[in-house]
Amino acid sequence: MERIPILQMGKCLLVTIQVDLEDQTALQLQDDLASKIEKTGARGVLIDISALEIVDSFIGRMLAGISGVARVLDATTVVVGMQPAVAITLVELGLSLEGVRTALNVERGMHMLHAAEKETGFDAAS
């Protein structure tokens, strides 16, 4: 089973999902992220799904789950790069992904994370 690599950039964790995820891999990612947030004290998590052509309810739940866990661990999560076809399908599916922040691309996502940082008075770049 493959593990999705988690990159660290300052106080932010970056995850790029580029493969069709098996259920197990998704669950593993959730666990890996939770422990890494705790270990590194990261304040922001950016998940790039621009290569994901399919987001079903399982993956949707995973994203919402990561977002929730991160929040409890005092980190903000942003999901970026959702493809139009995926957005349309998710709306039809009825998945609202409540509580998950989204941005159009990595640049905007990082911008959002830094802004969230400033609000709480910490500097994400340090």
Binding site: D20, L21, E22, D23, Q24, E53, I54, V55, D56, S57, F58, G60, R61, P84, A85, V86, I88, T89, E92, L93, G94, L95
Partner: protein
Amino acid sequence: MSLATEQDIVMSRQTVRKLTHELKFSLVDQTKMVTAASELSRNTVVYGGGGEMRWQVVANGTKTGLRLAFEDRGPGIPNLDLALTDGWTSGKGLGMGLSGSKRLVNEFEIRSAPGEGTCVTITRWK
């Protein structure tokens, strides 16, 4: 194809992707069909104890379509009406699988009874 393991869920997505692509469905329609297949395959593997997915190209006058059937010999669904409402779940899910999939396709048929397994048939027209 048989649906027994998690990898099969991924395989079913890839198979349906290939089928809808060859039938020249629009990208959004492809995505909707593959996502529906993912939901139903997962149901078959996780709740139905394994089963199979069958596919068939169908025609109605000048329209072409793809019909998929997901069948298992599992415990069956005791209350179909309830299962088809948003938010109902028997497991850990959000309960979007059935009702959500229904919205992603043009035709949706389900046969299930306790002890008799479940068969869901979905059709999408081009």
